[in-house]
Amino acid sequence: FVKQGKKWDKLNLTWGVRRYPTKMRDSTGDPEHMYRWEIQREFRLATEVWGRVSRLEFTELESKPEEADIIIDFNTGYHGDGYPFDGQGRTLAHAFYPGHGIGGDMHFDDDEPWVQHQDSDNTWERVSLFITAAHELGHALGLYHSDVEGSLMSPYLIRFPSSFRLPQDDVRGIQELYGVDEKYKEDPWPSTSTTTTTTTPRPAATPRPPPRPPKSDKPDTCNTEYDAISVIRREIYIFKGKYFWRVDAQGNLLPNYPAKINRFWSKLPKNLTHIDAVYERMTDGKIVFFIGNKYYVCRGNQELLKVGRLKNLGLPATLKKIDAAFVWGYNGRTYLFAETMYWRFDEAIQHVELDYPRAMDMWRGVPYNIDSAFKHNGTTYFFQGKMFWEFDDFRMRVKPKSPALSAPFWLGC
């Protein structure tokens, strides 16, 4: 087994199915499809697989799944993260390793022929939802894929008998992460075909981390996150809320900053509350701002050349905002980042390149949902919260000394 590196800092985890398969027997009446309660039961059994051998406890939030630690969705194709599904066959599902927000969530391909475990067969025409769910839950708890033959965390779907028993490799992995359940004895696992009606008590919903407080007004130079950052005309511009700072080419913070964005960038929307991302175009020096689901192309700070929607650039119509944008020094290409994914943008045709988005994991060590990013003096930096990560372009990973506090380094606090 392999521990991915992240784990939950608590033993009682909540889970819930937020988006069910589009075809369920409740509405279609088709015996090929599962009932809603059968789908829930397959997931409940999957939680018992891991809960039984460790000190983990699972509680289903049936009425408010969106508040659970582990949110389960059935999706098809591109569905808002860097792992688009591909129709029936090939990729079945994926999960995010433990953490806030999308961490712990599990996504299943709605195009797959999901069936109850005892109805699955050897043809891949009927895929066991229970086995796939138990595997993905292993990821959501912090386990990576295992190359041990017959393990549940093997990447390839393998067949297990209807009386499923968690293989020892997986038992050792989860116990290494969350300890041993004293009551656990190595006896055969009750067959999944027995109808176990576990009435999970409806718990008080565990609140998910409160959303970041709305952007306050004049920011504290030495104690704030950065909405956007970029080198423009050899100076560093750092944006926060309605204000921005300027740092000259020698690294000195110019006096009388932070100043109001609207005062200097007078052509941007008068009612702007913040900037999401900004970069200076390599090709012609224009400055591109991203605010919500729109972008603004400026020549200098007095001329607005173009306003457009993110979807006009080939980004998903559902994308609400960009987190960061920069020109990567390694290849001179423009990259756009949002949530758990990123795109490469072709300036020549003003459109994102094909076979994007890709998963943020490519930029190893950089967290999801970054606030901003830029290249300065040949080095790439990523920002989230009040910290920043220095990135090693050649090794495609953050440098060991990262992260560090932003304010002392960038604004001389």
């Binding site: 087994f1 392999v2 521990k3 991915q4 590196g5 792992y83 599904f85 066959g89 090939r90 990729t91 079945l92 599902a93 994926h94 999960a95 797959e112 891949w124 895929v127 796939t132 595997h135 993905e136 990821h139 990576y144 894929h145 295992s146 190359d147 041990v148 033959e149 093997s154 990447p155 390839y156 779907l157 490799d169 050792r172 992995g173 290494e176 990567w328 390694y330 290849n331 490469r344 890709r358 994991d361 490519m362 190893r364 372009d393 090794r395 495609m396 990973r397």
Partner: protein
């Protein structure tokens, strides 16, 4: 990858290389940096994939390997990138 007189079905084409990158058998970062790979790197990557699929580790795109490429699977990578792997705890028989 020089084709030479090798069996045409054994040419490790872009789709196979994409698969190897997608599941961590080749540095996914090559997709961004455009680094080319050597024949040996490709063969090693295929052997690692065969190890996870529990089929003979020939390093070739033989029939068993082509079947493996079509086997339904989880979409997360199999090999943790770089030296971050915690092989210390991987149990080897």
């Amino acid at each position: 990858v020089p084709s030479g007189d090798r069996d045409k079905r054994d040419i490790i084409d872009d789709r196979v290389q994409w698969y190897l990158m997608q599941y961590g058998y080749l540095p996914a970062s090559d997709m961004e940096t455009g680094n080319l790979r050597t024949e040996r790197q490709l063969r090693e990557a295929i052997k690692t994939m065969q190890r996870f699929g529990h089929i003979p580790m020939t390093g070739e795109l033989d029939a068993a390997t082509r079947r493996l490429l079509r086997t339904p699977r989880c979409s997360l990578p199999d090999v943790m990138p770089g030296e971050g792997n915690d092989f210390r705890i991987r149990v080897r028989r």
